[in-house]
């Protein structure tokens, strides 16, 4: 039995060393990259100056056409992240402030995401390589149930989020494969196609007082960022559209622009405008707030 325990100890040592080694290699490679996604871009840059910054989910990423603002002389960037929740938006804003970004106006898309205080796994993954070297990220995730595993177990974070920061990502970073995330100043245009899902049911969503939205408001107030919060359009065949009125009732400062575009020909899917719809919507926003 003694020999067996020695074997098991050897196995555990190999496991620990392999985990540690891989953790160091993965962190070194991934954190070397600054252009593959918006999160690492914010972490690696500082002292940027913007007249307008857009933030939110894919409904910000695909709806706010940065060029429309740039053409009117505003220096703008779309930091909307597909799949993200207000949890990550708040963290990204904290990082921008810490990196001395000077932002005059923040246009935040907050509608469907108001009902959710949980983290998004895909977006969270992008922060994980920096959790040891960035106190803000560490503190933001401190109250998560799996924080101790993520923070103290070597390589655990890369296993847990392997589809985003696993071997493929490491390989792509090392091979310097480009992505299109930062093209079009962060705006990602969608095109309509036949298979686009043109129905949605949001009747089960419950509006809550979202602590990360409150956090964003607080950060903006402290840093003299003018915060404008908007809701964005949904397709005609959406069940439970009164959700947007409920959001407006709870948060009167959030502008309900859900019905600015109603024709389905401007949608790529039920929750996402196509490029043409996004341009109309962005022009509407700009005229509404900046004319």
């Amino acid at each position: 039995m003694k020999r067996f325990f020695k074997k098991i100890i050897l196995f555990l040592v190999i496991l620990f060393v392999a985990s540690l080694l891989l953790d160091v290699i993965y962190t070194a490679i991934i954190s070397h990259s600054a252009e593959r996604n918006k999160i690492e871009n914010v972490i690696h840059t500082s002292n940027k100056k913007y007249d307008v910054v857009f933030m939110g989910t894919s409904r910000a990423n695909n709806h706010f056409v940065t060029k429309v603002f740039e053409d009117k002389g505003f220096k703008a960037f779309n930091y909307g992240i597909s799949g993200s929740h207000l949890f990550e938006t708040s963290l990204l804003l904290k990082l921008m402030v810490a990196n001395k970004y000077e932002i005059k106006n923040l246009i935040l898309e907050a509608d469907l995401s108001i009902c959710n205080e949980k983290r998004d796994e895909g977006t969270t993954a992008r922060f994980m390589p920096y959790i040891h070297r960035n106190e803000i990220i560490k503190n933001h995730y401190k109250n998560e149930a799996d924080f101790y595993q993520i923070y103290y177990l070597p390589f655990y974070r890369y296993i847990k989020f392997d589809n985003k920061i696993g071997f493929r990502e490491v390989y792509d970073v090392a091979a310097k494969k480009p992505t299109n995330t930062l093209f079009n100043k962060g705006y990602y245009p969608l095109i309509s196609h036949k298979k686009g899902n043109m129905k949605n049911d949001i009747s089960s969503l419950k509006v809550i007082r979202n602590k990360y939205y409150e956090e964003i408001k607080q950060i903006c107030k402290q840093n003299n960022i003018k915060l404008t919060v908007v809701m964005t359009p949904m397709c005609q065949n959406t069940k439970g559209l009164d959700y947007f009125d409920k959001v407006h009732q709870l948060y009167p400062e959030i502008h309900n622009f859900e019905n600015v575009i109603t024709d389905d020909k401007y949608f790529a899917s039920c929750g996402h405008l196509n490029d043409e719809g996004a341009k109309i919507y962005t022009n509407y926003i700009m005229n509404f707030f900046y004319n």
Binding site: M1, K7, E121, Y158, N163
Partner: protein, 477 residues
Amino acid sequence: MFFNSLHFAAFLPIVFLLYWFVFNKNKSWQNSLLIIASYYFYACWDWRFLFLLVFSTLLDYFTGIMIEKNETISKRRFWFWLSIIVNLGFLGVFKYYNFFATSFTELINGFGFQVNPLLIKVILPVGISFYTFHGLSYVIDIYYKRIKAEYNFIDYSLFVSYFPLLVAGPIERATHLLPQVKVKREFSFEKAKEGVHQIIWGLVKKVVIADSCAMYANEVFNHQEDMNSLSLVLGAIYFAFQIYGDFSGYSDIALGTSKLFGIDLLKNFNFPYFSRDIAEFWRRWHISLSSWFRDYLYIPLGGSKGGKWMQVRNTFIIFLVSGFWHGANWTFIAWGLINAIYFLPLLLLNKNRSNLEDINFRWNREGLQTILHIVLTFSITTFAWIFFRAKSISDALLYIKNMFTNLNFDVQYLGNERYSFELLPLVGVFIVFEWFHKYKTEPISGKYENVKLLFCIMAILALGVFSDYKEFIYFQF
């Protein structure tokens, strides 16, 4: 609780330590602990089905004794059929009722009548096909006086519910497992070490090979209408390696786990994709099930004794039943039928037992012929897997039609943001690794074992798929 979960990683060492340091007084203590652990293991899936496991154990325990105690044929027959009917009855209700009800109403509706099927809402108890067959073989062996009934209820309970084999086999035989649980197990370093290596190699097969292949195979099969010929061919190959890595990986973990408790289980896989004909494939794939059907169905039906026609009939029966055993869907029956058709020429030409010896490969004409036969056997096996994987027969036929008529062999970028060919190098490395270790139980032991251990651990950590978790395929059977 899955073999590749953190829950199991905590469960196994606890049971191991209790087994060798607290419950090591005698075999009854050892067996009692393993039964408690097994029931806990099973309850982690769904505690409500524990009653089914306990009932199945009690049924076969008592009927086994009653068959042995009764001298008259009629009474023996009564207890024998009671066990068979109740066991198959449970399997029928839980696994096949809805299939028969739906198929029957479709048939009736086909004649112009309008009938709605009376379906039952019940989930399939995990492992029911395995422990039912387990118990059946025990009762059949007693009835035919091949073995004596087991009077020690604890020993018998462990034979049925032993957790390494409880949910997906291997399907054990009383003649093999019961003698082992009837004696106190002594710790063997070599056996335990081999067990640990086998568990690690099983994990490589599951999380590195099977789950990676699953990502590509699922993408191709779920969007087959958008795929070209190359992607469809690759999708079928990926599925072939997914199911092999998944099930043989599971079996390796089961066998390795059992070795930690000093118990050997039946070997379930013997490098089936290196088979030179389909008969050899079935001697190497899911061996415990194939041999079960051979011993308890094919031979009682007359086996190969009654002439060619009888052989052909019996072969078709066991392949169809084997297909149906896998699941209540016509796709599995079609898969069984296709394999029976593959088998037919070998049977008619008396070549079904021509590749019994191990492969002795040399780089000469014979060696190249061997490779050709292996590739051919793999190809037809992979073709049959399309039916196994497809949701319906029409989906499978459409898949095959597109594969042969699309004729576009451009590399496609799949919906999961991966190129269809990307996984081929990993599959290639796996094949080469298996080829050079094809005479070993597990490839880690031997020269440079610590280096190989390091590589396996690195492979699991770096190449394993964890976030997109896939259940073991055979758990659904």
